[in-house]
Symmetry: C2
Subunit: 316 residues, 2 copies
C-alpha cells in the first residue's frame, strides 16, 4: 500500500463548524478557541469566512476575529472568500491564504451563492488577480465535487472541468469537497486518478464530510492516490449552511479521529495529539456537543490501555 | 484500486450483539429477529453461541433458538463454539457452520476462556474432528488478532502462527477479529499481505469492531488485499463480554453501513438494502438503540435525495 510519509491537517472548526452552529458564538469565545487550536500542531486554520453578514450571520464578526487572534509563525491562517468583495476584506485582514469557494452543482450553487458557474469562476479570477502582488495564497475549494443533495451524483467530468478552469485561473491549490458527505472510496479514487492524470503536479487536498461514515475510508483511498492534505474539524462540527434536514449535522471528519488514524498508521503530522484531544474536549463542553468523535468516546489505543491499567506489549 | 467483484456479509447481531446487551432478550424476540434477518439477503447468520449458560447467560437459550428459527436454503446458519462440548451441542442443533473461537492474546484468553493457547488449539482440533463426517463447516474466529485491551498491539507473527496452527488443524476458513476495534488500515494490510504470502489459497474473512471509527477504512484495506467476507452487526450492536469500561459498546461495523459502502462502490452482495434498513430500524426500536448507524441517521444517497425531493441526475 503506497502512502504518503506525512500529511498536512487543515482545521475547519472556526469556519465550517461555527457557520452552521445554531447560535452565534461570541467573538471572545471564537478567538479563544482559535488560539487554542493554534497550539495543537494543525498546519492551517480556516479562521472565518468573509461573506456578507446577512448570508452567514454566525460569522458576521469575521474582520474582528481575524484581527484579534494570536498568530503563530508555523500556522497558516486562512479564510473562506466567496467573491472579490470578500477577498478585499481578506487582504485587509492580512490572512495567509484564502479558500475561494466554487460550487460544482448548479442547483446547490444557485441556492447557496445565487451565481452561475461562469459568474463563480469570474470571482475566482478576480480573487487571484487581487492576490497578485500580496503574499496571500489562493486555494480553490470545490463544493459538491462528488454529490449534491439536489442533483445527486456529480459526473466526474463536470468536477474535472472546473479543476481545469481554476488551475488555468492561477490558483495555488485545489481542494475537492464532499459537502454532503456522500462520496465512496471507489468514486474518490476514480476522481483523483483522473485529476492527477491531467494535472500530475497539482497541489490537491480533500475536504470530507462524514454523513455516510466513509470519510476515513475516503481519506485512505485519497492517500493512496497521493493526496496528503486533509481538512477536518475538531469534534466533527461542520456542514453547509443550506444542507437539507438535519443531515449536515453529521459534519466533517473529526480532526482528532483523522489525527488518530494518521498516527496509528505511522503517517507523520505536526499534531500534538494530547493537546488536540484537550481542545476537542473543551470545544465539546463549551458548545454542548456530547462525545462527538471516537477519540472523545475513548477510542484510541492509549485510552483503552489506560482503562485496563495495562502496559502495551513491547513492539517487535 | 483492485477490489473484489462481490462480497459475503455475515450477520453477527444474534451472537455478538445479543451477548453483551444488558438485558436478557426473550427467546421469542430473538427468533423473530433472526427470522427477519434471514430475509435481508445476508449470506450467513451467527445465530447464537453454544457456551456454558453461566459464562454467557444472555445466550443461555442457544439450543432453543437454533431449534426454533426458520431456515432458508440460501442462508448459512452458524454458531460460535468455544470448545468440544459446544461443538456437540452445535451438531445436535444441526447448524451449517461453527465459529471455533481462538483468542490470540494470553491475557484476554485467560480472562475470557480460562485457557492457555495450547488448550484453546486442542479444542479447535477436537471441534474439527467432531465435524468430520458431518456437513458442518468449521471457521476459526481469531479474537484479538490485532490489539488486546490488556496487552496492547499484538505482534503480527503471533497472529500468523495461530493462523498456521488452525489451518493445520483443518479448519475450512479463518476470520481475523479486531475484538477491541483498534486496528488501522496499515496494520490490516500488513497482516493480510503476510497471511496470503504464506497461505495464498486460505479463505480469510474479517470481523471488525469500530471503536476507533476505522472499520470501513479497514474494510477497504482488506478488500484491496483480496478479502471478500466480512462480519457485521445490524445497528452495530456487539462487543466482547469482558471488554473494559463502556468501550465495547461501540460495537461492530453496522451491517447497513457496510452494505451501503459496498453498494456505493459497486461491489455486489445479496443484500436487499431496503429490507435490511427496515430490520435495522425495528431492532433499534425494540432494543432502544436510538440511531446507531449512519444509515439510520439518513446517511445514504437515496435518503438525502428523498429529503430534498430531488431526482438523481442521470449517471453518465
Amino acid at each position: 500500500m503506497e502512502l504518503p510519509e506525512s500529511a498536512t491537517v487543515v482545521e475547519m472548526l472556526p469556519r465550517d463548524g461555527f457557520q452552521r452552529y445554531p447560535h452565534f458564538i461570541p467573538t471572545d469565545e471564537k478567538v479563544e478557541m482559535i488560539n487554542a487550536l493554534s497550539e495543537t500542531g494543525v498546519d492551517e486554520i480556516e479562521c472565518t469566512s468573509f461573506t456578507h453578514p446577512k448570508a452567514v450571520p454566525s460569522l458576521r464578526d469575521a474582520d474582528e476575529v481575524a484581527a484579534r487572534i494570536e498568530r503563530h509563525d508555523d500556522v497558516c491562517y486562512r479564510a473562506l472568500v466567496p467573491n472579490a468583495v470578500g477577498m478585499e476584506r481578506a487582504i485587509e485582514a492580512d490572512v495567509d491564504k484564502v479558500n475561494a469557494l466554487v460550487v460544482i452543482s448548479d442547483a446547490y450553487r444557485q441556492k447557496n451563492q445565487g451565481m452561475s458557474l461562469e459568474e463563480n469562476l469570474k470571482e475566482v479570477e478576480a480573487i487571484v488577480e487581487l492576490a497578485d502582488g500580496t503574499d496571500i495564497e489562493v486555494e480553490a475549494g470545490l463544493g459538491t465535487s462528488f454529490f449534491c443533495p439536489y442533483e445527486g451524483e456529480i459526473p466526474q467530468e463536470r468536477t474535472l472541468s472546473v479543476v481545469d478552469r481554476v488551475l488555468e485561473a492561477g490558483v495555488d491549490e485545489v481542494t475537492l469537497a464532499t459537502t454532503m458527505g456522500m462520496a465512496d472510496p471507489r468514486q474518490v479514487t476514480a476522481m483523483l486518478t483522473a485529476l492527477f492524470d491531467h494535472h500530475p503536479d497539482a497541489d490537491v487536498g480533500l475536504h470530507l464530510h462524514d454523513t455516510n461514515g466513509m470519510s476515513l475510508a475516503n481519506t485512505l483511498a485519497a492517500m493512496q492516490c497521493g493526496v496528503d492534505r486533509f481538512d477536518a474539524s475538531v469534534c466533527g462540527l461542520g456542514g453547509g449552511t443550506i444542507l437539507p434536514g438535519g443531515l449536515g449535522d453529521v459534519g466533517n471528519t473529526p480532526t482528532e479521529d483523522l489525527a488518530n488514524m494518521l498516527r496509528d498508521m505511522g503517517i507523520e503530522t505536526n499534531i500534538d495529539f494530547d493537546r488536540l484531544t484537550e481542545v476537542a474536549e473543551t470545544v465539546a463542553e463549551q458548545l454542548g456537543l456530547g462525545t462527538p468523535s471516537r477519540t472523545l468516546m475513548g477510542g484510541t489505543r492509549e485510552q483503552v490501555l489506560a482503562t485496563t491499567d495495562a502496559q502495551p506489549a513491547p513492539k517487535k
